[in-house]
């Protein structure tokens, strides 16, 4: 607790906005100047966020870099920000992706550069703010503020069906948010229960909401959960995602996949689950089942696609399914794995969209049928793509493995009770979810390697003309930090896991205080095979 580090966090939040204001006053028509300002701003933001990482004490419980100021005390909301380990990881991810995003569409975006730069910077502020907010109104403001620049990114700089995609994206996410807003007001009106004034402050509300009656918790939980579930997106609320991703420019896709989807899962960790612990515990198997459905269903969808970006968008559904599965399992392994998987997905799917953006810039098509044999022409691009693919399918040694392994293992051992099924009898929910989820490991390899072969291997097809340039220096600069993150997190994940340990444990302790009482599913609860003779 306390004020250590001064307004460092505020600085990180609002630096991009400052950059946006600067861009606003730059003369129109100077595209390079606008992009340059955006780039410098995002790099400076990243540099300022490094001390956050260095000064963060993972072993300390509570909010760090906390800052609190009045805003509208009579209405009960204020400017209250702070970070825990989970938020810190995602803030770092966001600031890391910031410069990459600006660089990613450097050449591709040529019209309305000024507005584009402003949209990117405002989006960055909104995303960091969403992660750092500790006041429900502040959170909601940042949360909705994310929507507008992203809507513009898709709707203005997207490809053919951009309007449809942008409107769909907006309506989907907005419907959920509105329900959440109602729930926030409910919490506000309830917050005077302990005798104080009504407040939107997260910390105060969190102390009260756990004791709400179960019925109220259920309503509120699902109101929050729906908003977050759409953002994640959880099956069957996912159909906005492929459209938005397909139509968005590369930078939009990277931010969408890299950070914005994580806002949904982050919302579950920070708001929906700890605020309404009993309802969350009740809902956990349902959410876990939806997560598993997302894994299998998303993977199968990938196999049916002919559009590269759409394929990767559906793979996001599968990956986020893993995250939701891990969160619902509520065992330390699974929740930490889920948090790490959030970062992993940001890195590897962000990188995938980056690379697909490069491909699109070169060939101007996303149609898989046009691709083939590109590895001959652009070997470095192919190699990088393969590495990122391996991370995406969770090969050990890359970051993807740690996350998926922890999630599946944690789910397997999670004391979630049993389901009674036809033929199988009484089966531990955790075991069942974990086993079905593990098939995602197979399916992931099926569709990702199919994609790689289709694009890079085999004889050269239409899109692979000779003379396509390989990765340029600018493109290397973008992709190198992501590659480094893939390897570093894969080889030495402890610092990243350490950051999420305390928030994860607190979450579990809050939602499942009776964990110790429930037996872990032992042999007796597994099925006994025929032919057993002792």
């Amino acid at each position: 607790m306390g004020f250590e580090g001064g307004p460092l966090l505020s600085l990180v939040i609002f630096l991009p906005l400052l950059g946006a204001v600067v861009v606003l006053f730059l003369p129109r028509g100077e595209g390079g100047l606008h992009k340059g300002t955006a780039l410098v701003t995002s790099i400076v933001t990243f540099l300022f966020s490094i001390p956050l990482w260095l000064r963060f004490k993972p072993q300390v419980r509570g909010w760090q870099f906390e800052q609190k100021a009045d805003w509208a005390p009579s209405l009960g909301f204020g400017y209250h920000i702070g970070l825990d380990g989970v938020a810190l990881l995602l803030v770092m991810l966001t600031t890391l992706l910031g410069p990459i995003v600006v660089l990613s569409s450097w050449k591709y975006i040529q019209d309305r550069v000024k507005e584009y730069s402003i949209a990117l910077l405002v989006l960055e502020t909104a995303m960091i703010g969403t992660l750092a907010a500790l006041d429900l109104v502040l959170f909601y403001v940042f949360w909705e503020a994310m929507l507008i620049p992203m809507y513009l990114l898709v709707g203005l700089w997207g490809s053919e069906r951009r309007i449809y995609a942008a409107v769909k994206f907006f309506l989907f996410t907005f419907v959920g948010s509105v329900l959440m807003l109602v729930a926030i007001f409910w919490l506000w009106s309830d917050s005077s229960r302990a005798g104080g004034a009504r407040t939107f402050d997260y910390v105060s509300i969190a102390q009260l909401s756990g004791a709400l009656p179960l019925q109220a918790q259920r309503w509120l939980f699902w109101a929050f959960a729906l908003a977050f579930a759409i953002k994640v997106p959880i099956w069957p609320l996912h159909t906005w995602l492929p459209d938005a991703h397909t139509e968005a420019p590369a930078s939009g896709s990277i931010l969408l996949a890299g950070v914005m989807l994580k806002m949904g899962t982050f919302g579950f960790i920070r708001y929906a689950m700890p605020l309404f612990p009993q309802a969350a515990l009740d809902a956990a198997p349902v959410i876990g089942a939806l997560g598993v459905t997302g894994i299998v269903y998303g993977s199968l969808m990938c196999m049916a696609q002919t559009d590269m970006k759409r394929l990767i968008a559906y793979s996001s559904v599968a990956h986020l399914g893993f995250v939701m599965l891990g969160l619902s399992a509520l065992s330390p392994e699974a929740v930490n794995g889920a948090v790490l998987q959030m970062v992993n997905h940001g890195v590897s799917t962000g990188a995938l969209f980056l690379l697909v953006g490069y491909l699109y810039e070169r060939t101007h098509t996303r149609d898989l049928a046009a691709y083939g044999g590109l590895a001959k022409v652009t070997p470095a691009l192919a190699a990088v793509f393969v590495v990122v693919t391996l991370s995406s399918i969770g090969l050990p040694g890359t970051n993807g493995f740690i996350g998926e392994f922890l999630i599946l293992l944690g789910t397997f051992v999670a004391p979630m009770g049993t389901w009674s099924l036809p033929l199988l009898g009484s089966v531990s929910k955790g075991v069942l979810l974990s086993v079905i989820g593990s098939t995602g490991v197979i399916l992931g390899a099926v569709y990702m390697l199919w994609l790689v072969q289709r694009v890079f291997f085999g004889p050269m097809r239409k899109a692979a003309t000779h003379g396509l340039p390989d990765l340029s220096i600018r493109e290397w600069l973008c992709v190198a930090p992501l590659l480094a993150a893939i390897i570093v997190i894969g080889a030495y994940p402890m610092p990243f896991l350490a950051a999420s340990q305390i928030p994860a444990n607190d979450l579990i302790a809050r939602v499942r205080p009776r964990a110790a009482l429930l037996p872990r599913p032992q042999g007796a609860q597994l099925m006994v095979p025929p032919g057993d003779a002792r």
């Binding site: 159909t239 049916a304 330390p332 040694g397 293992l409 390697l449 890079f456 291997f457 004889p459």
Partner: protein
């Protein structure tokens, strides 16, 4: 004993891979070769030194915790390595045979522009394989397990501009992943039951029977994937699309034996699950037979060897399945020698014929490439067992153990404890295994005779030539190893070099007690020799040098249906294609069209949007722009309000 240098063994090849992969394209060729060879050699030397040190005293084990990889909740995963007699021997095989194959590759891949990539992959493979073998917990082992799968994928699809080859690589990876799925669940079960993932911790906790059964069974699913057993063997023949040295190293000598190694390493688990042991032995036996009969009708020299590998791996699984872990692993080592030699020999042939792989277009090559012919013959002798060198004894030990095993005597077929028992399984496996040995002898000699004897049947413009010394040298070393490897498996009790004696106490003992004795050893040897010679005689009759390819025609004429089925690999690929592959892909497309596009997006999402639009269209009819109509409606509203507010109250 804790040591501080074990990490070097896998790290050195990894560094070599990193160097070759990142810089290999720009540095001179000789640097690439030097680095690739030196790192493997250094690994070998370190492993050798460690092995000598460790094997001096029985029960010594070197252990090293490199660092804590990840630790969350009750899960604690170290990157820990351990060197005991089993892993030590395998390290020597991997780095030793690996070094020879690296050396051979210098000659083989020299003309390919992707040589630097090749050596990077190869080094990476050695590193992953060493990690698999040295890993002291299941997760570290899994890293190597998947790592070798990755290298296999990359190397099978090395010539990626051929769609078929890229497809073969992908197929290998995905089939392996199906196995890895089982492996992963196996890890979860063991962790759930014991709270550990490291071998020592798991060994210390006794397991409930059902848990042991499930864990062992699922890990075995992993083994069937990696080690190409029924029903997941289908990737291995296709894996021959890769460069031949790769087939020798990965798809014969080392990676594919990982399943056998894993079961031997987890012997303490498998003896707790005797039913799964029986399954292992049965699957091994069936695979051995299955691979052998398909091998009789293949004309691609590498496919013959691939099915031979599938078949020989089956033998190893019989060994570990009947509880004779030493026998299975001994065959693993001898097989590494002679099969690597065979593959390298086939590579030399292919190299000498500029890429020709069809044995129907070879013949008489003994004349042109004598070194290759002789070493190939030696290795063929070893695998078929016509003379008592390494392969003979290691295979015979497995079959004898299967015949005499007591591991299945107490197993029942049904849950009813008084039901029929599985004691017949051992002898059954013995009989089928012996028949398979005869078939093995037949198809291996067929391959040898068709390749090296008779008349040259290839095109005129191809002039077969012997390979350079850098390639023949490894052939000779491996041929010699195939012969002298016999010292490991000589059936002399307390022989100091004997593998059985050497690994005493390393493996757990199967339940059911010591093996009985159906037949005295000399009788089984006699049977084995006779069977091997019968196979040879069959091959000689059909394919003796003067007849050239006529043997196949005779075969075809005798049993046309069977032979066509065998040539087409018993249509397994086609069946899988229809039943699994197409079903899944079509199902995915159907699911997309129906559920995603039609129901969720069409009906629910766009449907609700259209509902709103329809309501809006209905409301629009009132907004017809006629101000007077608005005023009239307003008046009506006011009338209603007045009535409601003033009159009704």
């Amino acid at each position: 004993m804790e040591v501080g240098w074990l990490y070097l063994i896998p790290l050195l090849p990894l560094l070599g891979a990193a160097f070759n992969g990142l810089a290999g394209r720009w540095v001179p060729k000789s640097w690439v070769y030097t680095v690739a060879l030196v790192v493997v050699l250094l690994s070998f030397l370190i492993g050798f030194a460690g092995f000598v040190q460790m094997s001096g005293e029985e029960g010594t084990q070197f252990h090293e915790t490199v660092y804590t990889w990840f630790a969350v909740g009750s899960l604690h995963v170290d990157l820990a390595l351990s060197l005991d007699r089993l892993s030590g021997a395998l390290v020597l095989v991997i780095t030793g045979v690996g070094f020879l194959i690296h050396l051979y590759s210098v000659g083989y891949i020299d003309e390919d522009p992707g040589y630097w990539r090749y050596f990077a992959y190869l080094n990476l493979f050695v590193a992953a394989m060493l990690l698999l073998v040295l890993g002291d917990n299941l997760v570290a082992m899994f890293v190597g397990w998947e790592g070798v799968g990755l290298c296999s994928y990359l190397l099978i699809g090395f010539w990626f501009d051929d769609d078929a080859k890229a497809y073969a690589g992908r197929k290998a990876f995905i089939v392996n992943r199906i196995g890895d799925f089982g492996f992963l669940i196996g890890i979860f079960i063991l962790f759930n039951a014991t709270g550990h993932v490291d071998f020592a911790g798991m060994r210390a906790s006794p397991l409930p029977y059902a848990v042991a059964m499930w864990a062992a069974g699922l890990l075995f699913l992993g083994a069937t994937g990696k080690s190409a057993q029924l029903p997941l063997y289908i990737w291995l023949p296709d894996a021959m699309a890769g460069p031949t040295p790769v087939s020798a190293l990965i798809h014969a000598a080392t990676m594919v034996t990982a399943g056998v190694y894993m079961i031997a390493r987890l012997s303490f688990l498998y003896v707790q699950a005797p039913g799964i042991l029986a399954l292992v032995a049965l699957i091994g036996c069936l695979t051995a037979f299955w691979g052998a009969i398909i091998g009789t009708a293949q004309n691609d020299i590498k496919k013959v060897l691939a099915y031979s590998t599938v078949s020989q791996l089956g033998y190893m699984f019989i060994g570990v399945g009947v509880g004779a872990f030493f026998a299975g692993t001994a065959h693993l080592i001898t097989h590494a020698f002679f099969k690597a030699c065979l593959f390298l020999g086939s590579g030399a042939v292919i190299h000498g014929l500029h890429g020709e792989q069809d044995i129907a277009k070879m013949g008489g090559l003994k004349k042109y490439m004598p070194h290759t012919a002789i070493t190939f013959a030696i290795a063929t002798v070893a695998i078929t067992g016509v003379l008592p060198i390494s392969g003979f004894f290691s295979k015979d030990e497995i079959l004898a153990q299967a015949l005499n095993t007591s591991a299945f005597k107490f197993l029942t077929l049904t849950p009813d404890p008084t039901g029929p028992r599985l004691g017949f399984l051992g002898p059954l496996i013995y009989v089928l295994g012996t028949v398979t040995a005869g078939i093995t002898s037949f198809y291996m000699w067929r391959c040898y005779l068709l390749t090296f004897h008779g008349n040259y049947r290839g095109p005129e413009d191809v002039h077969p030539h012997e390979s350079p010394a850098v390639m023949t040298l490894p052939l000779w070393v491996l041929a010699i190893l195939s012969v002298v490897g016999v010292v490991l498996v000589l059936p002399i009790h307390d022989f100091p070099w004997s593998w059985e004696h050497f690994t005493d106490g390393l493996f757990a003992h199967a339940r059911g007690g010591a093996p009985g004795e159906y037949l005295p050893p000399l009788v089984t040897y006699g049977i084995a020799v006779v069977v091997a010679w019968v196979g040879f005689a069959g091959a000689w009759t059909l394919y003796k040098p003067a007849r050239n390819i006529a043997g196949d025609v005779a075969f075809e004429r005798a049993t046309p249906r069977l032979r066509r089925a065998l040539v087409n690999k018993l249509y397994v690929d086609e069946i899988y294609d229809v039943v699994v592959v197409r079903t899944v892909w079509r199902g995915a497309r159907l699911l997309w069209r129906v559920v995603d596009a039609a129901i969720i997006d069409g009906l629910l999402v766009n449907g609700s949007a259209q509902l709103v639009a329809a309501i809006g269209a209905l409301g629009r009819r009132f907004q017809n722009g006629n101000v007077q109509r608005y005023a009239a409606v307003t008046a009506l509203g006011v009338a209603a309000l007045v009535y409601l507010l003033l009159v009704r109250t």
